[in-house]
Symmetry: C2
DNA sequence: AGCAAAGTTGACGCGCACGTAAATGTAACG
DNA sequence: CGTTACATTTACGTGCGCGTCAACTTTGCT
């Protein structure tokens, strides 16, 4: 059977983070590893959450913002009121992410233009025949 | 004639930043306002750079990373060697931005799925007829 | 000339996201 | 049973991106 829980080191190797980071995320209530004695065991749920955490970080969200988003993915027996609030928060994040993507597309296009501009200049500098 | 330079306050109003932020960016050599006596005057170039800075920040780049990218947009009389290095750095950034956008698209799709899931649950909770 | 508004330079402070060292514990192996 | 290797808690340190006074000069208006 493929063991489903990971030790702290296995987690670090799998996700390229430090033990300090994992303990920090636990302290911030982003992860909830179970304990085998004093040691941590990270469940599949923790692994899925960490993946989402790291993704969120890439998009510039704070850990606190990420924590709120994570709730959306692990709803247990939430009440409708709580569920609605979570839905609202997530909808706002979705809007931000979409406009961020649109901005990103613009920036990518701009950067591509700049790069081909530079490439053109470099080509001219290496081919001075036209000036002869 | 439309005045092309802005005072610090005009910059703050135009870009929604604080004076502290602008002075900080100057200290970090991201902006180079000219001086009229002791006061700062932000040129069109500074305005364009600030726009790029704020955009870069949205994508999670550090100010130092942004500073390197900015060079690409304001190449004066760079040598070919320097130009090539700038091009290289920018190409790396472009790669990061593209993969970031792809990630973002995935995250957006995931989040949309989760949201419609939650919406379905909320709808079920409000229409208990089926259980009657 | 006088005064308020706005700008300037330090310098210290702060929140975030961890890094890092110290002291201690514990599991595993020969 | 001792040693080695990894884990844990506690606590202070760090880099980034500014916020926030404080003390002072400069500008614009009356």
């Amino acid at each position: 059977m493929t063991e489903t829980t990971l030790t702290i080191r296995q987690m670090c190797d799998a996700f390229d983070v430090t033990p300090r980071t994992l303990r920090f995320y636990e302290a911030k209530e982003l992860l909830f590893p179970i304990r085998q004695g004093t040691r941590r065991l990270f469940t599949k749920r923790d692994q899925a959450r960490l993946k989402l955490i790291l993704r969120g970080k890439r998009f510039g969200f704070s850990l606190e913002e990420i924590r709120q988003l994570l709730d959306l993915y692990h709803i247990g027996d939430s009440q409708a009121t709580q569920l609605r609030k979570t839905h609202e928060v997530a909808t706002m994040h979705l809007g931000e992410m979409i406009s961020q993507r649109d901005d990103l597309n613009k920036a990518i296009d701009d950067l591509k233009d700049q790069l081909s501009w530079v490439e053109k200049i470099l080509a001219d500098m290496e081919q001075p025949q036209a000036a002869q």
